[in-house]
Amino acid sequence: MTRDEIGELAAAYALGALEGGELARFEALLRAQDADALAALRDAESTLVDLAAAAPTPPPPAVKAALMERIAAEPVAARPPAVLPLSRRRRPLWPVILSGAMAAGLAAVVVGWSVSATYEHRLDALARDADQLKAELRSQQTVLKILRDPATQVVSLAGLPPAPSARARMLWHATAGGVFVAAGLPAPPPGKAYQLWAIAGGNAPVSAGVFSVDASGTGSLSVAPLPGVSAVNAFAVTLEPAGGRPAPSGEMYLLGKS
């Protein structure tokens, strides 16, 4: 390879414009500690540093405050391992859905038992529990209806670059609503939450609700039927300010077309 060729690869690499086979070729040179490639890259990068340094911009003070808070919240002994595992073991989704459904069923049995044991003494409590049971039952019926109806769509959502190993599944029924389960998402930063969007035809995306994830990266959402939305083309998840936004504004984490 001539010096000019190496110079071209280094320039494009530093600019972020290299791709495909050429990117692999240049990265191989860097891994092999090729002296010409390293020198050319250092030159290209230091030029871009100077270019950036020509227009420094003071960042908003809130960024440093948030960072220092995030660092202070880290356990002291928990410096991360130098090498992170390349891929996290994928947890299958169906057990998450089923265990949720089973837990809900078990909860219904427990509530029912406690109701029968005490109803003579606590009629008001009975009424309250019965309401709870009915609500529980309604939600179970919804899930059952969604699961049984052949009109239900199953949409798989794949992780996008912010979280490539994330994935999710949406069981969607136009008149009954839907059940959404996601796994492998990073915990949202403070003040942020994930928002699910339904995209139908050429219309603006419709919010299907806001959810968070637990420590293992799993989250779920039960979605009521969306007024005016029948055939959904795609579901997507973006990171938004907690509470959600009327229209998507943040990065997209998951996308699945139906």
Partner: protein, 193 residues
């Protein structure tokens, strides 16, 4: 350029201290280097909120990955600026992908950040203020290639398609442009001192 600082306060020394979990060193490094990274991020992302988020992510990476910093591969400034550039361009691409998916109105603040790359070079160049003085010394074809790659996040084959030029021409322009820029920025620094 890092301000003149001594001993334990040079960038490499600060990175070494950050690698041991030294929060004061991190705070100092942030104060010295954040404007450099943020200047670049803001040039890639017009949306101030998205830019602030990217800056936070970049410095969070600095905190997490300081132990992996290898001085043989480049200066801490280059390490930081390349991270800032990569993350900002990732964000720009992800916003473009999102806007292609959502065929409806999105927030005004976001659409403004999505000016079509290179379509109004004069207005964009003006917006880029000081950077323009160094870039302005490049012949127009070289300047466009560098801007489209560095600030708009296009790959060299995307640039070739957009300009209707052979890929080889785009590659040569990127290399010559950077070489010339190095000369221009070097002179500027000398005349400023």
């Amino acid at each position: 350029m890092p301000p003149a600082v001594a001993g334990s306060e040079t960038f490499p020394a600060l990175i070494a201290r950050i690698a041991t979990g030294d929060r004061d060193a991190f705070s100092r490094f942030y104060d010295l280097a954040a404007p450099l990274a943020f200047g670049l991020i803001r040039r890639v992302l017009r949306d101030p909120e998205a830019a602030a988020e990217v800056l936070q992510e970049v410095f969070w990476q600095v905190w997490k990955e300081a132990p992996q910093y290898d001085p043989k591969r480049g200066s801490p400034e280059a390490w930081l600026v390349m991270r800032a550039k990569t993350r900002a361009i990732d964000r720009l691409r992800s916003m473009r992908r999102r806007d292609r998916t959502f065929v409806g109105p999105v927030d005004e603040a976001v659409t403004r950040a999505e000016d079509a790359p290179g379509e109004n070079p004069a207005a964009r160049a003006e917006d880029r203020g000081l950077v323009q003085t160094a870039l302005a010394q490049l012949p127009e074809p070289q300047r466009r290639v560098i801007e489209m790659a560095f600030f708009d996040g296009l790959t060299q084959s995307e640039i070739a398609t957009k300009l209707g030029e052979p890929l080889g021409t785009v590659k040569t322009r990127a290399r010559l442009g950077l070489e010339r820029l190095r000369g221009a920025l070097g002179e500027g620094r000398m005349s400023a001192t």
